[in-house]
Amino acid sequence: MKSLGSIRRSFSPWTDPAAKPYIVFENVTKKFGDFTAVNNLSLTIYEREFFALLGASGCGKSTLLRMLAGFDEPTSGRILLDGQDMRGIPPYRRPVNMMFQSYALFPHMSVEQNIAFGLKQEGMPKADIDKRVADMLKLVKLEQFAKRKPHQLSGGQRQRVALARSVAKRPKVLLLDEPLGALDKKLREETQFELMDLQQNLGLTFVVVTHDQEEAMTMADRIAILDKGQVMQVATPAEVYEAPVSRFVAGFVGNVNMLEGTVAERSEKTATIKGASGAEIRVENAGDATAGSTVAFAIRPEKIKVSSKKPDGAANVMEGEIYDLAYLGDMTVYHVRLADGQVVKASALNSSRITEDPLSWNDKAWISFAPDAGVVLTR
């Protein structure tokens, strides 16, 4: 496989066996009564890493952060921070700060006082506190709101105060629970980049919870995909997208077509997958799929080409008709119904203003893709 490393910067301690992990979850389980919120989970996070926890609502993301911050103790398993077992260490003695999903702003304090709270606790000199608070207010663009109380702010403004308050102390590890959820698109994108800058410049370790996959892909060095309290995959954004390890991960991140079938032929590298209707797909990188096993071939819409004439020379070609199409400006998404009835999504970038052979509803169309355009999933 070609390298799918971190694009953003050359930072990949997880590939270095000698690198010492900074945060370690070791077989951590957390139960609330009978309910298992986190299930025998192991994770390693490295110093200065921007790590994202991605998962559906209720999969245990906040619970993980709360255990790291010290509000909940694991039912079993260990959490190590910089080599030290964190069990029994109260939250106020951990070098970890958390931005709460509910913000948890102090309602009786102004924005300024909220941000200064942790700094005062540290015993920082007044002049330094004022300077730091001013910096933080600038970062989150709330300079004019310094004297307001939380109840006089909008949801997005509150979220930014919560962010500023947690960043102000410049903790070794910053835990952010849905830090940008309430912001509008533009502000969210700006703040994403500011967070990344901040993290790089101060050399902090960030653990960010989000259920916005785009946000996770933009910011994180690595992403952990969680489901029902378990880790499904931990990898760089590119790996998660291009080389998902399971149907769940492939389906969770981005759009995907899942073509189910059985492995008809298997050589060292290539394989042929036979669908229910008899259509065959030739693939490379078949991974650990053994002959005869049921697998899914997962392919992203943008890797499928749609044409009105049968293309020559393509490894995989399938015939169908245009079932639906959506013109999105920058691209067009085609829903093509194949002979066996399955609908495949394909997207085409509208790189020129006028297309030569425009496809329309119910037109006959061919889809084609390269043998390495998708991945074979056994799980």
Binding site: A69, G70, F71, P90, P91, Y92, V96, N97, M98, F100, S102, A104, L105, F106, P107, H108, S110, F117, G118, Q121, E122, R148, K149, Q152, R165, S166, K169
Partner: protein, 322 residues
């Protein structure tokens, strides 16, 4: 003048005409505001004015035992005659006899000390209730209110049985060997404190509970997360946020405790001087309605004026917060 009136009339009538619905809504809106004011007017201000009027009168051997009484038969001039008889003599009298001053001061001191203890005991109770699982909170709340189902008087009498030298408390303490002589609690200030704290504790606990229950526990977590140990987090977060409850609870205990009559009379013995008892004596033993009315008016002013200042200060503080 006439011109302006004429000019404004049409537009004014235009404004007044609009649909009946809004007019009705405006009226009901107004009514809703009027109800509490009417309540205050009828049940507070009018009785207060009657008491105030009596306090300006003189004692008389008559029924009612003061003069002048308004006699509408005398017409306007008769009323005017009555008015001219009013004087502030009774208030002067209050300043001349130190008994009243001492009674006021000792009432306030006793009420303040009792309020402090009620807060000290009530806070942990309210805190525990607010932090209890949501399913048991209604039960706890009921337990706090439960004593109200028994007559107040009976409960205070019961304390005599507990506190008297051969009472339950002393028997118990002697039985455990902690003391060999019975403690004298009944007919002392301590008994009054115990009685007031016991009787008014629910008034302290309920507002505290409602303030604490509203508080989001994640605020404490946030404070701890920012490096604040639990005790310090209590003073910096819990305490200020419970302040409205603390103020309400303290006022609800302090105000009735200041004028309390039954508890000092039953538990405090004859030595204790409290304004409620003084008032009772003036009214029933001396049958001096005017002086007892003056005592009541002063007591009211003593409590209302500081409260008004306090409220104003609070309103200002809130405004500054904005």
């Amino acid at each position: 003048m006439a011109e302006t009136t004429l000019a404004t009339t049409p537009s004014a009538s235009q404004e007044a005409v609009p649909q009946q619905g809004t007019w009705l809504a405006a009226l009901t809106g107004r009514l809703v505001i009027i109800i509490p004011y009417a309540w205050l007017l009828i049940l507070f201000l009018v009785p207060f004015l009657i008491v105030f009027k009596i306090s300006l009168s003189q004692t008389a051997i008559a029924m009612p035992p003061y003069s002048p009484t308004f006699d509408l038969a005398g017409g306007i001039s008769g009323l005017w005659e009555s008015f001219r008889e009013f004087s502030f003599d009774n208030y002067l009298w209050l300043t001349e006899d130190p008994l009243y001053f001492n009674a006021y001061v000792s009432s306030v001191v006793i009420a303040a000390i009792s309020t402090f203890f009620a807060l000290l005991i009530g806070f942990p109770i309210a805190y525990g209730m607010a932090r209890a699982p949501a399913t048991v909170r209604p039960l706890l709340l009921m337990l706090v209110i439960l004593p109200f189902w028994t007559s107040f008087l009976i409960r205070v009498y019961a304390w005599i049985g507990i506190l008297k030298p051969e009472g339950l408390l002393n028997q118990f303490l002697i039985w455990t060997g902690l003391i060999d002589q019975p403690l004298i609690i009944l007919n002392t200030h301590s008994a009054i404190f115990i009685g007031i704290v016991y009787s008014y504790l629910p008034f302290m606990v309920l507002p505290l509970y409602s303030a604490l229950e509203k508080m989001d526990y994640s605020l404490i977590e946030a404070a701890q997360d920012l490096g604040c140990p639990p005790i310090s987090a209590f003073w910096k977060i819990t305490f200020p946020l419970a302040m409205p409850g603390i103020v309400a609870g303290c006022l609800l205990v302090f105000i009735p405790a200041t004028g309390e009559f039954v508890i000092p009379d039953l538990l405090g013995g004859s030595q204790t001087l409290m304004i409620g008892k003084t008032l009772w004596n003036e009214f029933f033993s001396n049958r001096d309605w005017p002086v007892s009315s003056a005592v009541a008016v002063i007591l009211l002013l003593m409590l209302v004026v500081p409260m008004m200042f306090f409220q104003q200060a609070q309103a200002k503080a809130q405004e500054q917060g904005r």
